[in-house]
Chain length 521, copies 3
């Protein structure tokens, strides 16, 4: 009969809650002014906002939630925000002096680009955590790393035939913004202003470079890093969406980071796809077994999750890497997580800005140590333990560690063959101060570590075994790639009179040149 | 308190509507006769139909809907249809003289293949629009274009080794119907009749070639083009299904047209996947923000969408291309949309039935001009503007236009290398009157423009950036493909004593021959 | 008004059912003891179990269901199980003498790995059927077939450069368990025991090799084959999940067996994706049109499906292959289904453990004959007929049979070119007693039959035509692969002084050696 009471109780709770829900939340005069026009001009985002928690509760009321269900982590929310809905004006006119894109719009100081620092007004703890997340440096870590710029150039650059040779010219700004920086984030800068003819007559607006963008490492006009809307889609900003894997899929679909594809083919993903319609994606804290029956990306990497006794299984973190021991995204080998989210400082033993050496060693000074790795492993395993026995978890982990070792070893063999190709002069590599990424055969080499080794590791990490660990960009393709590298070398050896190979002296000089980061682009 | 009233109002509306819903809709005697047997024989489709709007409302009643909620666009629905459900007999026995597949079935003149002209009985406007849609010519445009037949032959043809050479023999009819024509549509023709032993005893049925098929450009036994069931799946024929991206996925999954994959990895697709369970996919008109929170394929390309004030944002169109300026499906370059849905008339400057020249020019006489492009762009941008600011839309568009230019330029470089390979005689191309698609190295070239350039453009068009614009058949693969083309040429140059190259005179003649469309298959 | 009565009737039924649902189901003392700790330690699985039918009904009550709605197929369920929920103890302590992993756990004889034989306590018929399913032999059929071990070794083996040659060293146990055996199943063996420090103090547990695993052909510590949890995910063990395609996706995503990808791009998959939220996935029997509107994997291959008159359209089978005439997974050609689930006995005419000859013949003695094929085809077509006319089904089938023939013929041409390469000595193949899978060019050959021919056949079988039959690992790639094989051979012929080719005598000897299964690994 216990269940009957539960049903009755829920019913009564709903009845009791109704009046509260029917209470309207006051809207500030400024937001009212925004809505007066934008409700008609931009109905989509206004309707989204109306469904959002921001529209349905005031910060003051939200702050009455304490303990694990706390959602507003700032203690010092400005007084003028406390008793109104968090509306257009609250986000787009606050901290106006800090934003270089602030402009006068119907007598309000409005800025287009809402930054994490704006969100920190109420959610300071999450923003602080996120600032320590390597994702917040996604722009900088790509844009200020000469070696990664080499790789980017080989992918985005404009091919041209010059003097019978294939060369790559600089990609346009638009191409770069739409490609790598779509996910990594752009740098948004005010380039001037323009007058536009609008429904309300002529108006002035700032001209923004790098806009639109919602990348995780976006450099905002107030100098801050990141965009909360990358995961908490504007203008509903919900936990629901951020907790579902579709959000992560935007940037993690593969083949370089096939998290989504592997997840949805795993047992966890199967459970999610089949049963998620019955789950609660909005409860805080998020209770294992009650609210959800299998982890999504967020459950393992971010969310505050509790057991059915209300005990914390894992604390909420917007740093994310603090549940991760290994970085399984090969650069060019899987390696311990970097200590610092700013990875531009890293130098390997060849003085390249890379967390591993071409011969498989780790740039250990810049990476977390074994103790820290063990600690993070324990945090993650604590989540597994809510559904799995110790022997299950240990067994899974042994395979995962084996896969990291295995794929790194295979990457090493691929790199050794690549080195032979460079040594033979069939392609121009780092020893000549040239990009190791811009020849056809170098791309075959990068296929191996960037796509196939990564895919194999993601399959292992998420127990998504099956096809992604074998036939779908997995081990089949690692070995095929290595065989093809060797086959290409053998064919070249059969036909080519060896091109002039630089003397040891010249080689050494080139290496020095390379190590100064003076790669030719 | 406003919300409480809304809830109350909805409740009352439901109560009021109930009696109407409980009214049974009369079924014609003929349909009753059909159902008497087929309810047992084909329960699946009968149950589908029972759930359909066709079964739940009479045309007369449907015609009382006016203005934006109008669903029956014909003004002259025949009297005998007005007061009965649109059942088996209404669709399968109407216009019986026009259908060459009409046969006597229990004293009824029944035809198997229901055509758009049948649907036009009630939905004349949609059928007329669709007849101007390039999709309605999908069979003809493929089947009657010698160059595309060359491409098709290189894909479907049966390889054989003859005299040490690899040749391609004609694919079987079944292969062609199942492959390209599955989506493009088959030509359905009556090939005779047969007697079958059925549950009801021996009966005669027509034998249909090209059946089954629901391709968008199907040639029907009444001579009409297309199949409404391609998108409005029989026998529910719902707007709901047609408005969801799963329907489009049947033919647009990739890598040549990866619309579905890109969409579901975009922000729009993320919102759809996460929140669609709460949306209304049946309302007409379809209100932005209220009925749905992010566009599906249909919202941008087809549906009548309105804002929350009830104003039209975009008119319904079954022509679809009239919201499109560019055709991003490369043939072999992206190009302005064709003027006419019948593209068999197009000739480029080499007199090939191709909307672009091999050197990147456009067959402009056959394509829409800049004014028309601007007009269509404006229509599409009007939809974006319901959720996005002007600077957002303009910024997105600048990148999109850049990507078209960029991928076309890269395709040109690939084609220049391919031309060198043809010139060197390492593969036999158009200058010799040969198919440009049937050598290994030609397939590597077509990978570039058919898969990678297209994928990159779809990623750009839908702001699906991330992996599809870079690592998943995107820019990484464009440049890799170009490098591999060049590498192959270099290897060939190293090893091959040049085969006899045709003299300029011979070349010219071959070109002429090719231009007459006399390609060898 | 009939519908109104239906609504009323449903409402009354719900009211009537409520008290029954609120009845609590007794839990055995042993299970109560388990729950006392594990409810806190493993909340996820306990909550799953609470939602399961196992927790909500006693076997005795379930056994009152007769006829088509029968779920407990055993007639002799032990008395002590009849009146309690099927809880932790019922599955994990039963048949304790049979399980070599049984250990003393708080005075209970507990085994970790629940096997099909345990499930047979109540579900004997399903377990018997499954034991005749080729999937139950998935471990053995891979592990005890020397040729397949060759293929596995070429994929999982560790590449190394030795004496300038690329060799493959044995893969680690962990790699094998995580890769192929993730789906095929591992062999679980007790390797000893260990003492662990738990929340409840020090406790002893068995150490299991091959754990965790839920593969379909798992060898359990009681000697039985398979894991019901592969499809009926622990600990909800629902029909709902097993009936949805997400479960099958875990092992059938591609490119070798792209069932899921093809299905979701087919009309059936489109209907499922769009409308499944309204379907009933738990009803037994499963009624076409009422419970579901388009087949999922289970509907065609496993489930008991009935028409709306309650007549059986297809009997439930856990053997699965008994609705299948062809095995479209090429080894290396598509072929009639094997007679016996144990395929290790099969020998082709070259005495290789392969169901087809390299020249395309079938090892017919080991495969079902034409009569059996016809019978199985009829069973499957009976399901199609619930929604499709005879001419539709026959038309579809003709294309499907054509595709099997077509793809087998294309595989033959690829194999003929591969044979020329072996004959020329450019790769070492079976005639030299070497693996046919471990050279770069051999991998290109296996791409053709393992990925592209399979994908094309899956597209055909499920009428998923479109991209998977053409551009997405389909016919485009079959022909491209064949062209590239030939191109590679041509380049080799141009450059290579032919390596020493073994004399006919030597060849013969090697062939004999190969036929003894003495392949070098």
């Amino acid at each position: 009969m216990k269940k009957c009471f539960t049903v009755l109780a829920i019913f009564l709770m709903v009845l009791t809650a109704l009046p509260a829900w029917c209470d309207t939340v006051p809207i500030s005069d400024a937001t009212r002014d925004c809505l007066d026009c934008h409700e008609s001009i931009h109905p989509g985002i206004v309707e989204d906002w109306k469904r959002s928690r921001h529209a349905l509760i005031t910060p003051k009321k939200a702050m009455t939630e304490k303990g694990l269900s706390l959602k507003v982590s700032s203690k010092d929310v400005p007084k003028e925000y406390l008793d109104v809905a968090v509306g257009c004006a609250e986000c787009h006119t606050g901290r106006s002096k800090s934003h270089s894109d602030t402009f006068n719009h119907n007598e309000y100081d409005v800025h287009t680009v809402v930054s994490p620092e704006d969100c920190a007004t109420c959610h300071s703890q999450e923003v602080k955590q996120y600032s320590e997340n390597i994702m917040s440096y996604a722009f900088t870590n790509l844009d200020s790393n000469l070696l990664y710029q080499d790789l980017q150039h080989s992918i985005l650059g404009k091919p041209a035939i010059k003097g019978g040779e294939l060369v790559l010219e600089q990609a346009s700004v638009e191409t770069r913004e739409e490609a790598c920086y779509y996910c990594h984030g752009t740098k948004i800068e005010v380039k001037g202003s323009e007058t536009r003819d609008t429904d309300m007559g002529e108006m002035d607006f700032p001209v923004l470079a790098g806009w639109p963008n919602q990348g995780v490492g976006r450099i905002n006009p107030d100098g801050s890093r990141g965009s909360c809307a990358a995961c908490h889609t504007r203008h509903v900003f919900s936990m629901e969406m951020a907790r579902k894997p579709y959000t992560c899929k935007e940037c993690h679909v593969g083949p370089d980071v096939p998290a989504y594809k592997v997840y949805t083919s795993s047992k966890h993903g199967n459970i999610f796809s089949s049963l998620e319609k019955n789950w609660n994606f909005s409860n805080v804290p998020w209770t294992i077994g009650k609210d959800f029956q299998a982890p999504t990306c967020a459950a393992c990497h971010i969310s505050l999750v509790t057991n059915t006794d209300g005990e914390v299984v894992a604390e909420r973190t917007h740093t994310m890497s603090n549940r991760l021991s290994w970085r399984i995204f090969g650069l060019i080998y899987a390696h311990p997580q970097p200590k610092d989210p700013d990875t531009t400082k890293i130098r390997n033993k060849s003085n390249l800005p890379l967390p591993t050496d071409f011969d498989g060693g780790f740039a250990s000074n810049y990476l977390i140590n074994k103790d820290e790795m063990a600690k993070r492993t324990q945090t993650m395993q604590g989540i597994c333990a809510a559904c799995h026995s110790d022997s299950w978890v240990k067994g899974h982990w042994a395979r995962y560690e084996n896969t990291i070792k295995e794929t790194n070893e295979k990457t090493l063999v691929a790199t050794q063959i690549m080195q032979q190709i460079w040594d033979a002069g069939y392609a121009k590599g780092p020893a000549l101060g040239k990009s190791p990424f811009d020849d056809a055969i170098e791309k075959k080499w990068s296929d191996i570590w960037l796509f196939y080794a990564n895919t194999t590791r993601f399959a292992s990490a998420m127990a998504g075994g099956g096809d992604y660990g074998v036939f779908a960009d997995g081990r089949y393709h690692i070995n095929q790639g290595i065989m093809e590298l060797k086959d290409w070398l053998d064919i070249r050896n059969s036909i080519s009179p060896r091109p002039e190979v630089p003397s040891s002296e010249a080689k050494k000089k080139s290496a020095e040149k390379a190590s100064e980061g003076k790669n030719d682009q």
